[in-house]
Amino acid sequence: MEEVSEKDLQRLIDSEKGTVSREIFVDQTIFDLEMERVFARSWLFVGHEGFIPNPEDFFASRMGKDPVILTRNKQGEILVFLNSCTHRGMKLCRYDQGNARAFTCPYHGWSFSTNRDIVEEPGELVGVPHFKDGYGEHLDRKRWGLVRCPNVVVYKGTIWANWDPEAPPFLEWLGDMHHYLDVALDHRDGSPGGSEVIGGVQKWRVKTNWKIVAENFIGDMYHDISHRSVDTVGIGPGGKGRRDAQRPRLAIGFSELGHGVLGELPYTAEPDYAPTFASHPDVEAYYRKVYDDRVRNLGDRPRVTNSVGTIFPNMSFHSKQPRTILITHPISPTEVELWRLYLVDADAPQAVKDAARHYYLRYSGPGGMTEADDMENWTYAIGSSEGAIARRQDFNYQLALGKAEPVPGLQGAVQSGSYSEENQRIFYRRWAQFMSRAEWDSLMPQATPAKARSHGD
């Protein structure tokens, strides 16, 4: 396959029938087009404020296959640059994080500054060896400044960026999905924000396609059975199962946006307190206290809760138990690099943070007793799909087909019961729209036109 036409897409994704071609998980051309058409136009999670708390802090991140530098300049602006020297491509910053006044290329010594006291536009070239005798002072320092991502926003500590200057604002991209993301990012007492990120990012490679991870977290109660071994062992904070007892969750998807969760419909009264972390009395006391605060803080305002979710295309999260962010960076059609971050209430006592961290680590990541099994399934679902005969056989996403019903109180959301693949159908429909190179006015008909607003909002 060298190009993907509208006709090809209709064959590859049939969301009415609930089938998806295996080609989209293994084909190199499709993967290359995804980098252009999905990743270069989507709002992507690039990091957390907690990684760059001080002026001139930086954090090396990724957007699709592109390495980027996330940094805070001396003036406090949060900026994202392509992590590649504009001269001849050397990766400028090869530290995971740190603090630097300027980014100097190790290869030929070009250096770039983000400080507005020195440069007009952050990222400009400030140091060029042999500027006078080699370039006759004619090199355009602005033109050859770092490639800067035009849209960067901070949302409750999380940082997002989008390469497309015409992209709709982040909050419109997120839509009412924000209610579910807020469950992870808000304080447990209901106050906005209030979470912090634990130091260190788990990064690991898995031989699978990036969409397999996205669709797993978008709301796939059906795969619960794969975690029976850990449920039997009982790693949950109360000593049973892998989580404390949960109320029934539904697959709730945002049809126009491509996001989805396993969660509850909006409700207006906090359910009775259910003990959590019962095996740690001091930790349990904290959650009892923040429960009371939450009841007081939220009153009868609508709120939601969820276990997992995916924000199109590659940001997934757990909101409650555990409480994590998972970014799926595409490496090749059949390989990803996963990044896992962990969240806690910022002002929680250390004992609460400790218990949370221990629980997260026995649940999540490559060493997590739950996720170790996911990695096996994700690897071999792709490993057995590369053959010529396998490629002829579509994947089946027909669970709860035709069962979607609108969710009152959530713009554009539908629910389809607990065991459903509606969210996956939504995800692949959205993917196909991006792959068909649709314009923003059809991708986001409700969005504020780019001309009517300033960027970086």
């Binding site: 090396a60 090869r94 530290y95 995971d96 994080q97 740190g98 634990i198 130091g199 260190g200 990012v201 788990q202 990064k203 690991w204 490679r205 898995v206 031989k207 794969s226 029976r228 071994s229 850990v230 039997t232 062992v233 009982g234 790693i235 690099e337 896992r340 971050l341 962990y342 400790d354 961290r357 221990h358 680590l361 026995r362 990541g365 490559p366 060493g367 007793m369 996720e371 170790a372 099994d373 990695m375 096996e376 399934n377 690897t379 071999y380």
Partner: protein, 180 residues
């Protein structure tokens, strides 16, 4: 025998004993005798595997994530290590069904400190190489340093603390379902 010769001999014997302990431990893990391996751990064991960051040479103190504060690959006590062993025994822990093949190698064993005289505690450092081969073509090589504290008990030496410093920034294996 002169006292210093006596002391040197005792140190040599202790070194040999610890060496043999690690070899036997590796044998148990590779033979998948995980319950017997658990019996080598003290009830208060700390088993910790920090993340490793790419840092500037002036900031090597930041290379490992901080113990009891930051994220890590694993941060375990006896309870969760026991759960891991139980999970391996369920027959439906798909990451290890069918079972992987492992070879644990330990070398460069050094005794850093010896405390006490009857119930001794020994701080050790060593290098490890853990090879995991899985299914048809999965091969993971984990190489790094280990800092262990061993405690002498009535039942022989036990592991009271293990810090595993894997020489990888991005983990190049899809999961960690073996012990180090």
């Amino acid at each position: 025998m002169a006292t210093d010769t006596q002391a040197a001999l005792e140190a040599l014997l202790l070194h040999r004993e610890i060496d043999e302990f690690f070899n036997q431990e590796a044998e148990l893990l590779d033979a998948r005798r995980f319950d017997d391996w658990l019996a080598l751990l003290t009830p208060d064991i700390r088993y910790w595997m920090p993340l490793m960051r790419n840092v500037h040479s002036a900031n090597v103190h930041d290379e490992f994530t901080n113990e009891q504060l930051d994220s890590s690959w694993m941060d375990e006590g006896l309870e969760t290590l026991t759960q891991r062993v139980r999970q391996l025994g369920t027959g439906i822990h798909w990451a290890e069904e069918p079972v992987s093949r492992t070879t644990h190698m330990v070398s460069n064993v050094r005794l850093l400190a010896v405390r006490g005289s009857t119930s001794r505690e020994v701080d050790t450092s060593c290098r490890f190489l853990v090879y995991r081969n899985r299914q048809q073509d999965e091969a993971d090589i984990f190489i790094g340093k280990r800092l262990d504290t061993l405690r002498e008990t009535e039942d022989g030496w036990k592991i009271a603390r293990r810090e595993i410093r894997l020489d990888q920034n991005v983990l190049l294996a899809k999961n960690l379902t073996t012990f180090f």
